[in-house]
Amino acid sequence: MAEAILKLADVQKTYTRKANGQVQKVRAVRHVTFDVPRQHIVALVGESGSGKSTIAKLITGVERADAGAIVFNQKPFGEWRRNMREYRRHVQMVFQDPYAALNPLNTVRYTISRPLANYRALKGSASDREIERILETVHLTPVKEFVDKLPFELSGGQLQRVVTARALASNPQLIVADEPVSMLDVSIRAEILHLLDELRTKQGVSLLYITHDLISARMLADEIVVLYRGTVVEEGNAQEVARNPMHPYTQLLLQSIPNPWAPALEPNVDLSRLDRTSDDGGCVFRARCPHAMKVCETAVPTLKSGAAGQKVACFLHHAPETQEVAAP
């Protein structure tokens, strides 16, 4: 396995939210540990509010972690922090909503020229040549037709290509793509996914692909990390995790995908506990888990290697350690 370009070790983040003057604590990221190997695509999968975007923000330095370590290129984030410019140059981001990620008043050319000017000191015709090259990379051809357009003149898929082009402009090593296709029509999603895959193979960038869609994760990624309420519940080879999930939550995710091809196989998932949550120690999933056991109420399962090579945090697959049972 390739060396890790990005390492997250026991990262935590709690938000204090002031909603109408009331202070609430939201544990967005509890204990998150995973690696992004160089030139790999790692998918971070989880439902809404599971902390995916928060992790993206922590990695890109938009937010600061409360605890834990984020190491990029063997250098802890704390050191990078002193030179965010340099860090940003290497770690770029692709946003979820291409309509929102582009300033409606700026042309494609301006948008892409900014990182070129800021990070690579390219100006004038040099910049234009590079813009042309990058737009070709993201298949916005013929370039001339697109380069002076304003966002409203482009379709969603085209916009997302522009967003990707902008992220590519600084020659980054890692791109964090936060649900890059969820706002797009199914019919054009594939193109963007193909593009991302191509970037990895042709440009050698590593990619953290954030999604709530297990299928696209399986399609695109090498590894999948499944997140539930701020904790990693399962992690491993993409095909394994997506086809033979071990954690009840991942299983639930898989079963929930509509499957008109095999209506017979369609499980009748027990969802009566959907509205329940628990946030008082123990397994975070236990309130909704159909297999919840007594031990799940008191002990927190940690991520351990399971049978098929993937890691899973569930007492169904490995017994709790004694000291954990003793924990309150």
Partner: protein
Amino acid sequence: MTSVLGVLKPFWKNKLARTGVIIVGIIVLMAIFAPLITPYSPNNSSFAPMLTPSAHHWLGTTQAGQDVYSQLIWGARQSLYVGFAAGIASTIVGLVIGLIAGYAPGIVDDVLSYLINVFLVIPGLPLMIILAAYAPVHGSLLIIFVITVTGWAWGARVLRSQVTTLRSRDYVAAARFAGDSMWRIIFREIMPNMISLVAAGFLGAAVSAILAAAGLEFLGLGDPSINSWGTMLYWAENSGALLQGQWAWLFAPGFLIAVLGTALVLINFAVDEMANPRLRKKG
């Protein structure tokens, strides 16, 4: 000229705004060509005082024997000038404070927001009157100053909240990822997207400035030797215009103020619709 037309084009499509633009245009032209379309100098006091309207003096003469019609046309200059200057000044102050408060997090925002709040609870007209009454020098600059001091806070509040929403837009974050500096972000990413709001703020401020200036001048807190609609009202009132049947003298300046204000409000409707797509009515 084409660029001017380009700016005006969206208004032209909107019926209300078109009416507004035309009216403002007429008043502006009136102000520009005042020397050509007035028979006398507004300060020429060689006529008999207090004449009622006639062929020679379409709107009569003042107590000092000046031609009311000429004063009315010339007065457009001053009213436009004060309205627009005060509108611009308070918009700029509001914009700068709103931008800084909205963009700078934490203590700076807290302090500025608090300042905005304080200025919002201070009653405007009374403060204006006090400031104007005690200024050593009276004149349009003072009125502009006073209106700015008392009027910037509304704009600042609106713009601040707009900046706070814009600031969290993805494209602003993206600009940060692209390595842009704070100032560049403010001026290239945030500001241009507030143009319609700023324009709306400006128009609103201009309308209230025109009304406020008229009010202050009416109270004699302007420079009464200046020729403006507000001072015309002041002199008309102080000379008992109505009592003497000098209807036109009192009626015309007030009416033009109302018309100019309405025209600006009409333009504001269109700008508002652009800023607030929910009000938009297609087709």
